[in-house]
């Protein structure tokens, strides 16, 4: 089927792509979003949202973000979908404005799923483990630099 890719017409191509979009939406995004919304609801119900906002306020302020964004960073490093879900939940509740979302979107994409990609990118590519700290450090450095710069652009 894949070898005959050039023989598909527009409709067949679109349907094939849209189907993978459907699968991604419901097998990957929806569970991630649900987990994120449950976490945010728990943070809101317990009142931890305010505490996290105060504690991480100064650090996140460097990137022009409110303190509560720290939850997005943590979730995003574990999983891209999780980070996006938490950010969406916080934006829905009015904790993040549109420029906060843009800054975080840049960050989540760059450091997204860092923990998973150690196993899925560095391992299969055959990189020696002595380089891992450098690669992880550079990944985070680039992501945080990008977030810092983005706050002046959006």
């Amino acid at each position: 089927m894949n070898e005959k890719s050039e023989k598909r017409n527009f409709l067949q191509s679109f349907v094939l792509g849209a189907r993978s979009g459907f699968n991604l939406s419901f097998t990957s995004m929806a569970p991630n979003v649900l987990f994120a919304f449950a976490m945010i609801q728990i943070l809101n119900l317990t009142g931890l949202t305010d505490l996290i906002g105060i504690v991480f306020g100064p650090v996140m302020g460097i990137f022009g973000l409110p303190g509560i964004s720290a939850t997005v960073i943590i979730a995003g490093i574990l999983s891209t979908g999780g980070g996006i879900g938490v950010a969406a939940g916080l934006a829905t509740n009015g904790h993040l404005d549109s420029s906060d979302v843009a800054i975080l979107l840049v960050g989540i994409m760059l450091f997204g799923s860092l923990v998973q990609y150690i196993g899925r990118v560095l391992g299969p590519a055959g990189i020696k483990s002595k380089h891992y700290p450098m690669l992880i450090g550079v990944n985070l450095l680039a992501a945080f630099l990008a977030m810092f710069v983005t706050q002046f652009l959006v």
């Binding site: 890719s5 050039e6 191509s13 679109f14 094939l16 792509g17 849209a18 189907r19 993978s20 979009g21 459907f22 939406s25 419901f26 995004m29 929806a30 979003v33 649900l34 919304f37 449950a38 609801q41 728990i42 809101n44 119900l45 891209t80 879900g85 950010a87 969406a88 829905t92 509740n93 993040l96 549109s98 420029s99 979302v101 843009a102 975080l104 979107l105 989540i108 994409m109 760059l110 997204g112 899925r120 990118v121 391992g123 299969p124 590519a125 055959g126 990189i127 380089h131 450098m134 690669l135 550079v138 990944n139 450095l141 680039a142 992501a143 990008a146 710069v149 983005t150 652009l153 959006v154």
Partner: protein, 235 residues
Amino acid sequence: MQDEKKIKTDTENSKIKKSNSISDTKQKVRIAGYISLVIAILFFSGIFKDVEGPLRALDFTNVLGSFGKLGTLSEGSGSIAGNFRGTGGAGVRDGWLFALTLAPAVMLALGVVKIVEDLDGLKAAQNLLSPLLRPCLGIPGFCGLALIASLQSTDAGSAMTRALYDKGFINDKEALIFTGFQFSAGALLTNYLSSGAGLFVFLEVPIFIPLVIIFLFKFLAGNIIRLYAMRIKEV
């Protein structure tokens, strides 16, 4: 014959007894097991549904939250929500409706990308990109195919990088640089158009602006690793 049968059934019985006795004996359970069980019982019991303060987070219904309201109408006037997600929802129920609102965007985006791919659009991108790889990233131009693949899937990208190295098309330093590039913002195209789409509704800037910024810093990450690879003697 009958005796044999009897022996057989006896052994079978003893087997069943044995397996029963296994399940009868107490299994070792971590302390976390008991704690989680107690919390789960409390969570589903509804005891904390109407309490004030943080403990209300320990209730299934409260975490489940509420669907948004579609609007209020009285005597022919009022307001109505913009879409089925409604307004003022919270928790997991709101998250579900939110996830539903994302599906069309993801399906449309990946559908269009597939058309472009089948029309050889990605191969065109590869051709345009290949001459830039040596100056911009310090890797040979024929890494273009693996690079385009890595924008769609991290697994495909890393597997192709490994193949390029094993076949001697790139040396170990180039493999390190290329992997560093893929490691930052892995599967960018797919992730941006699927997961990232979840945030597009909140953006006021055009969606390509964050994407351009991400690409620039992805190349920056690759180039920092390039400097690192140049300075070390052995990879």
